[in-house]
């Protein structure tokens, strides 16, 4: 945990891929995290529950975006890798994304990360959630199209 927090804390706040010195560490971490959370259907469904409990829905809607950017498309201002999304949630980002560091336990953060990535089809289909507990307002995460994430050019970023 502390390694990870250090890596996240020292990563540069500028968008895009993290600096190469940290790349090795984050790659190792991402293998570990992937096994625990991104290949675990329960963790992803917990992430789905927290996504609405912690009001991610308020800005990002159910992936389509609103006040905040869409999460089901292929455009990632601050990186689409699990540890980059983790950093985005922990540190917050300009133009409205609050910093949730210290407010959400690490385990739940990773569950959220896994769920967020399932919105753009980054997880395998047998892990993504298949139905909602409440009235369905979108196709199940399992049926969402797999996107090919790409960073967005600086000029296209919202100011």
């Amino acid at each position: 945990m502390s390694d990870l927090v250090n890596a996240v804390a020292s990563s540069e706040l500028r968008p895009g891929p993290s600096a190469s010195a940290e790349k090795q560490l984050t790659t190792n971490l991402s293998y570990a995290r992937k096994g625990i959370y991104e290949e675990n259907g329960w963790a992803v469904s917990e992430g789905k529950r927290l996504y609405s409990w912690f009001n991610c829905v308020g800005c990002h809607a159910h992936g389509g975006g609103g006040m905040g950017p869409a999460l089901m498309d292929d455009q990632w201002l601050y990186g689409s890798a699990p540890e980059q999304i983790f950093a985005t949630i922990v540190q917050g980002r300009p133009n409205g994304m609050p910093a949730f560091g210290g407010k959400i336990p690490e385990q739940q953060l990773w569950q959220l990360v896994a769920y967020v990535r399932s919105l753009s089809g980054q997880l395998s289909k047998d892990v993504s959630t298949t139905r909602s507990d409440h009235m369905s307002i979108m196709p199940s995460e399992q049926r969402l199209e797999e996107q090919n994430p790409k960073p967005v050019a600086p000029s296209a970023r919202p100011q």
Partner: protein, 321 residues
């Protein structure tokens, strides 16, 4: 923990208990008669002589067969009459339960979550609404209207000393009227399997005299007491800066999470974790650090805190009476 369903403390449970005793005594008599008939038959046995035994079966014996037919007809008739009486009794009981009415002065909305009960005392004046969890107080001798809802799956509310089971169905509010005729603490339980911690989904019903009830309700409507000593003040900061405030509400502070039990007056409750553990500082500390050990699968994550942070937090929560 006892759930004495037959020691009725309210009219609902009394009707059910009366019906139960009727069924019990009638079935007991029928059972004894059947066993007696069986014993008589065993005692008489077959004729020892094999030839005599086969002759009974082979040779027609009109009067004897008429007698047997008569006995069977009487038995079937009596059984049918008893079953019809049972049917009538249960219909009458059902009607009596459904028509428990009278003017309710108290209306409570109970919402089932996996695995706890959210409790809201409704009022026409929004500022008088009060939210709590896992414990309700009711005035003795007057009917209380419960509106039952579910947040997730089907639950069922059963306080055996007060009323029969009533399901909490997602998307379909159910109404149940209860009344307690004598003061006391009654325990309720989720009675519809709802997942891993179904067994740890208890509700406490405290029936008390009207004036005590009114005082309790007025106290619960107040915002949380502000901490006075430094340790408790620090505890409040821990509560607000750590994950706690993300899910729990404490009125009068910035903590306004709505997805977990309201903690505004947590220290006034008898139990924690929907009846999983008693409400003592030690149990509370254990619950905060590792509730997954006490009640595996519940939605509260294990929180890592340093020793003095935890002590401060316990001091703060312990003051929320």
């Amino acid at each position: 923990m006892r759930y004495p369903a037959l020691e009725a403390a309210g009219p609902g449970a009394a009707h059910i208990a009366a019906n139960w005793w009727l069924l019990f005594w009638v079935c007991l008599v029928v059972y004894l008669l059947v066993i007696a008939a069986l014993l008589i038959a065993l005692r008489r046995g077959r004729p020892a002589d094999a030839e005599a035994a086969s002759e009974i079966q082979r040779v027609p014996n009109a009067p004897r067969e008429r007698l047997i037919g008569f006995v069977i007809a009487i038995s079937v008739g009596v059984s049918a009459i008893i079953l019809i009486i049972f049917l009538a009794a249960s219909v009458i009981t059902g009607r009596a339960l459904a028509s428990l009415s009278g003017k309710e002065n108290v209306a409570i909305e109970i919402t089932g979550y996996r695995w706890w009960w959210k409790v809201e005392y409704t009022d026409l004046d929004p500022s008088q609404r009060m939210t709590s969890a896992n414990e309700i107080h009711i005035p003795v001798g007057s009917p209380v209207k419960l509106t039952l809802k579910s947040y997730d799956v089907i639950h069922s509310l059963w306080v055996p000393e007060l009323h029969g089971k009533r399901d909490l169905i997602p998307g379909h509010p159910n109404v149940l009227r209860i009344q307690a005729d004598r003061p006391g603490v009654y325990y309720g339980q989720c009675a519809e399997f709802c997942g891993l911690q179904h067994a740890h989904m208890r509700l406490v019903v405290v029936a008390e005299p009207a004036d005590k009830f009114a005082a309790w309700l007025a106290g619960q409507r107040e915002p949380a007491k502000a901490p006075t000593d430094d340790n408790a003040k620090r505890g409040q900061q821990v509560f607000l800066s750590r994950p706690c405030a993300f899910c729990h509400n404490i009125s009068g502070t910035e903590a306004s999470g709505k997805v977990a039990p309201d903690l505004t007056h947590v220290a006034s409750r008898l139990q924690l974790g929907a009846g999983a553990i008693p409400n003592t500082p030690g149990h509370l500390a254990g619950w905060i650090l590792d509730s997954q050990h006490i009640k595996p699968g519940n939605s509260m994550p294990s929180i890592s805190l340093s020793g003095d942070e935890l002590a401060a937090l316990i001091a703060y929560l312990g003051g929320l009476s």
